[in-house]
Symmetry: C2
Subunit: 230 residues, 2 copies
């Protein structure tokens, strides 16, 4: 399988890339004749051959389509509250399968865990690596050290799982850009935390009328997003 995936504006018989990308291909030590993958960020992915490469431009020739391109159209971030014991491993594993580009660990008001050791963080990153391989993704999502929820600067559209919210995932998700989903600790986010996120533009979404465990909510929410077909 080609090791490099390049984003292009649109898939076409011949795709011309500019100086920036040409330089990047030089850095990757690619040579004319090498195979890469190209994707358009909208779910289309294909094999391609690098047919020309000089300082100013690169030309790619389209190969066969890759069915089941594994990445979401724009980066998907999970902001996950710290959880006790080994629960975060399960969350990271499932989140990787469900397509997240990164996991940002969060310290929240009700957290009964407020920090995480370097060994545990390394372990979570190994879990992401294994899960990525197992689910045939080309990307290993980094698991980032915890930041306080109030300091978290989520990218793009933001969904926060909240029992009793009226909006449903399918009503809200747009995929016009990056998407961030935030899930709380045991006991949930506080009303003040959800209000603060909402004030910054986050959409509170329901996961149905039942109380979910903190480790089930991210899987259910990311499952709902995956089931939207992206």
């Amino acid at each position: 399988m080609p090791r490099h995936r390049l984003r292009v504006g649109a898939l076409g018989p011949t795709m011309v890339l500019g100086p920036g990308e040409a330089r990047h291909l030089h850095v990757l030590r690619l040579r004319p004749g090498d195979e890469v993958r190209v994707f358009d960020g909208g779910g289309q992915e294909a094999r391609a051959t690098l047919s020309e490469l000089d300082e100013g431009r690169a030309v790619l020739t389209l190969g066969e389509a890759v069915s089941g391109a594994a990445e979401t159209p724009f980066p998907l971030t999970l902001g996950a509250a710290l959880l006790k014991g080994d629960k975060l491993s399960d969350v990271v594993r499932a989140a990787t399968e469900l397509g997240v580009a990164q996991v940002q660990l969060l310290v929240t008001a009700r957290a009964d865990v407020r920090e995480i050791g370097p060994q545990k963080l390394e372990r979570l990153n190994r879990v992401a690596q294994e899960a990525s391989k197992q689910s045939r993704r080309a990307v290993v999502p980094p698991v980032r050290p915890p930041v306080p929820l109030a300091a978290f600067q989520p990218a793009g559209q933001v969904l926060v799982a909240q029992p009793g919210a009226e909006a449903r995932v399918a009503d809200v998700v747009a995929w016009h850009g990056p998407l961030t989903v935030i899930t709380g600790p045991e006991g949930g986010l506080t009303d003040a935390e959800v209000a603060a996120l909402s004030a910054r533009g986050a959409h509170a979404v329901t996961l149905g009328p039942r109380i979910l465990r903190a480790e089930t909510a991210p899987v259910a929410l990311l499952g709902a997003i995956a089931a939207l077909g992206q």
Copy 2:
């Protein structure tokens, strides 16, 4: 708690039901003055009192709202392939949180487990009981001993998780009656198994372009259904 839940078009101070429903209430041996629950299928649920009942119609008087009514509008069944080790416990736990009315274990072509001992089945039922309590449900979903997939008679609308399917959960789920979701073993259901289910009316649905572990797929699929807000 009232034993009978009736679906109504919308919750209102007085709700009038037609001859079909009136007959149904007779069959249930309900009498004026009896308490029931009414729900609108959109997440609203309340207590109600049967104030009139004759051959042609029934009149219900609205009581107090039931907050966080935890049951799906119609019974939701998970048909889950047998899995190795303790994975079924995780599936049963999450499925209970996500609202299933029962779990039917299935023996499938690629199963590397073909039976389950009585102790393990009892254990799975204990897991369902604990999860039901934890998620504040009034119902404990039974975990039923395995049957071959070909012998399984699923109730109502049937969804089967299949990588590469075109339909999305949100496109398909109707909640006009019982709903059954079927998920495969490690390695997935065979094409023949999915074809046989489709021939019997099942909808194959996508969970996105990535390969999910057998124990993640049911959580993601039930999460998607829960996120539809029922």
